[in-house]
Each structure stands twice: as structure tokens, then as C-alpha cells.
Amino acid sequence: MDYLIHLAILFSIYAMLGITLNVLVGYTGLLSVSHASFFGIGAYGTALLMVDAHWNFFPALMLASIVGGMIAYMIGCVLSRFRDDYYALGSLGLNVIIFSFFLNLQTITRGPLGIPGIVRPNIGSFHFSENSMFLALVLCALALLWMFFHHVTRSSFGMVLRAIREDEDAIQVFGYRTHFFKLAIFVLSAMGASIAGAFFASYISYIDPFSFTVNESVFLLALIILGGLASHTGSVLGALIFVLLPEALRFVGFPQEYAAQMRQLVYGVLLIILVLYRPRGIAGTYTF
């Protein structure tokens, strides 16, 4: 049972990441390869505040999320002037830079040694130390994020985002300054990813820079492409598959020495099949 709860917690965290990335890539059409960096900012921010400053999880989460949003705002001011390939390259560069900070800013992040001893959240004397309780908490956060971004994407703001995805030049003709919209959704997406990072740090209790590499950003992109672009349901389904698939493959009986490579191979084949036969993913609105 504990194993299933563990998977459910990981699924919830990745579903949060999927939803927050999908508003950027799926709804707005901005190919961001930097989501893992904001995931990391949330994780590091929360970990440092909890371990070094002994903050409670919840204010630490809020501050980490705000910091993630502020960093996104500063970078987004430049990034939102770009589109298409340039946006993807810019965001890729951002992930590399932030990863370098995590790795080399040793006085703060402790570099490759990482930060151990991150405790679970508590409200007064009530501690979410049981995995089942932590799951309840993370599911609440997922539900709140889902509702928030559902509202965002259904609003007139979301309508403009979808129009930007389709034809940014055309929407500018009606007086929309699209870079403000792109900046706003980038900041919201980054704040959401930071919240997921806070839960990740608290759950795993140890973080190091290698959880927030460009590879992780690409993994998250694959997750939403598989689940379906511009669909919250798709993000959640993508997370479900990407969390459960490695576990299912454990029982396939690959030889121990090749198991990891075989799993990667299965991922690759799955993505190729999807691109060929279901380019909209499982529940997507748009093709990639």
C-alpha cells in the first residue's frame, strides 16, 4: 500500500508540473525547455528556508513560489519578446544557467552534495509525516492548481493565449500587446512549477542539482505531448503514464544489466508511435 501511495504522490507532483507547463506550451504555444529550473527554484527555496532558517513548510512554499515568479518575471521580460525556435533556445539556455547556479553556488546550495534533512510539512502540532497524509495534502494542492489554471484558460485571458498560439501577429492588430500576456503566463507557470518543487523537496527530503537538469525539462515536455497539448486532463494522464510506466516495466523481466536502457527504449518507441499515429496525444487539442 505504501508503494502505491508513494507512486500517487509522485504522480501528483508530476501532474502539477504537467498542468503548469501545458498552459505555456499547449495553450500559448511557447515551447519552453526551462520548466525544471523553476521546479528546482521551488525545491531549493523551500529546502533552504526550512533547513537553514527553520521556516514552516507553508510560508516557505509561498516565498519560494514568489521567488520563482520574480525570477520568471525578470527572465520573461526578455524571453517574451521571442517566439518559436528562439523562445525554445532562450528557455533552454535559462535552464542551463539555473542548473549551473544550483551546482556551483556551493555556499548556498551546497553544490553536488545537495541539501539533506528537509522535513515534512506541519500545521501546529499536526505533522504530515505519514505518506497517506502527505498524499492528501499534495492532492489538495493539485486540485487547487487544476482549478486555478482551468479558470485561467477558460477566461478571456486564456482566450488571448490561444489566439497567440494560433497567430500572434493577427492578435496584435487588435491592440493586444502579446508580450505582456506571454510574460504573465510564463510567471504563473513558473510559480506553479515552484509549488510542485516545494512538495518534491519536502517529500523526497533530499535534493541535489541533478533533479533539475535540461533532461528533466525535456521529460516534462514529453509528458505533456504524450498526454495532450492544451488539455489539463492530458497533463494528468501524461503524468500517470510517465510515473506508472517505469514501474510496470519492472515486471516485464528485462535482464538486470539492460533494464534501464530498455526502459528508455520503450519511452522512445512510445513517443514515436504517438507522433505517427496520434499526434494530438491522448487528450490534446493541438498537434505538437
Partner: protein, 237 residues
């Protein structure tokens, strides 16, 4: 005093001189036609007036005041542009597409304006919840015009609104344009190839050739000269 004016507009696309010291005056509440063969610079005039392309030199005046045209500023001044090729947002519904044209309008006001526009474009009313990508070419063009009108612009710029449409839809679109002028007293600038129909509704026309104003005047006057033959059929004495 014209509501909108371009003075000595000069535009280059790389090494191509697209507009060469063009003067255009748009009178309020009138329909002004901008005509010419392919590559004459018609669309460039509209883009220059709305700020969609930078002019190398020349000035734009709005209500007699010199301005630097920037699309969002022009929209705020009460101008609306319906670009060439319709450019509707295909995955959005008809109603969402129209709503996008009303940036500074409250939701309540927007709904009442949309209902009023459905009187001019009844074909869209029945398809209000359909995705724009599922509409026919003519309906998409109506939607594009409707989207340009929702902000109740004082000046509406239309870039080839009948391009690629069947004669039936061409007549419908021109009937709608006339309707718009009568109902809303909108100043309309229209770039168009369809001379015969355009001349029946235009008050004034500019004929462009190779980036310069070749002739201008009232449509009746132009029809009785050899200007159109010279420009469109390249018949030169």
C-alpha cells in the same frame, strides 16, 4: 480636414521600394478605395497607416495631429484593421473570435454589440458556437470583418476582403460593407481588386502603380479616363 492622412509615405522591403512618397487622405465617413495591380503597394499603404510596418520617411496624421502609428495605439484611437487572408483563429469559436476584437469593452457591452453585429451578419449567428476553422471562406471573411467592427471603430481598414471568394459571397460582403457605413457611419478604407463592385460603393479612389499614386479621384471620374486600362491592363500609348 481628413480623419487620417499619409504624407510622403516611403517604405522599403529590403532593397524593394514598396512606397515612394505616397500621399493619401482619408475623409471621415467616406469609403476610400485603394487599387492597383499586384505589387503596387496597396496593402503596404494600409499597413503603413496602421503602424504594421515602419516607414523609412513620411508622416501619418490622425484628425490633423501628427502621430507615430503603433497598432495598439491605433486601436485605442478607434481604428481597426481586417488583415488580408482573414486570419481568423481557427480553433476558437465564432463568438470567441469576435470577442477578441473588443479589447477595452466590458463583457455586458460586448454581448450587446455582438447581437447587433449578428443583424448585419446573420449567417454567423447560427454558427456562434462553431469553431472558426469549420466555416466556409466567405463566412470566415464575414467573421474577420465582424471582429474588426466589434470595437465600433471610427476607421475600418479592409485589406482585400473578397479575395478568393465566389461572386455570391463578394456581393454579400460588399452589401455588408455598405450596411456598416450606413449603420455606424464608419470611415472605411478598402484595398480591393474587384473594381466594378468597389466603384459602386466607393466615394473616392486612389490608383497605385509601382509604389506611387498614379491617379486619384471620384470613381465616376476615373472610369471615364484611360487610367484603369493603363494600370491594370498595362496599355500604354
Amino acid at each position: 480636414m481628413p480623419i487620417l492622412e499619409m504624407q510622403k509615405g516611403d517604405v522599403w522591403y529590403g532593397g524593394v521600394h514598396a512606397l515612394d512618397t505616397v500621399d493619401v487622405r482619408i475623409e471621415a465617413h467616406a469609403i476610400t478605395a485603394i487599387m492597383g495591380p499586384n505589387g503596387a503597394g496597396k496593402s503596404t499603404v494600409l499597413k503603413g497607416l496602421f503602424g504594421l510596418i515602419p516607414m523609412r520617411s513620411g508622416d501619418i496624421f490622425f484628425e490633423g495631429k501628427k502621430i507615430i502609428p503603433i497598432p495598439h495605439e491605433m486601436a485605442r484611437r478607434g481604428m481597426s484593421c481586417v488583415p488580408q487572408g482573414r486570419r481568423v483563429f481557427r480553433s476558437l469559436t465564432v463568438e470567441e473570435n469576435i470577442s477578441l476584437g473588443a479589447l477595452h469593452v466590458s463583457p455586458l457591452e460586448r454581448h450587446s454589440r455582438i447581437d447587433a453585429l449578428y443583424d448585419i451578419f446573420p449567417a454567423l449567428k447560427h454558427k456562434r458556437k462553431d469553431q472558426a476553422g469549420t466555416l466556409s471562406g466567405g463566412q470566415q471573411q464575414m467573421l474577420a470583418i465582424c471582429r474588426g467592427l466589434i470595437s465600433q471603430p471610427r476607421v475600418l481598414l479592409l485589406d482585400e476582403p473578397t479575395l478568393g471568394l465566389t461572386p455570391k459571397f463578394v456581393s454579400e460582403i460588399f452589401a455588408c460593407i455598405q450596411d456598416i457605413r450606413l449603420k455606424f457611419e464608419t470611415t472605411i478604407v478598402i484595398v480591393e481588386h474587384n473594381l466594378k463592385t468597389l466603384f459602386s460603393i466607393a466615394d473616392y479612389a486612389y490608383v497605385l502603380e509601382k509604389g506611387r499614386v498614379y491617379a486619384q479621384g471620384k470613381p465616376d471620374e476615373l472610369l471615364h479616363t484611360s487610367v484603369l486600362q493603363k494600370v491594370f491592363l498595362a496599355i500604354h500609348e
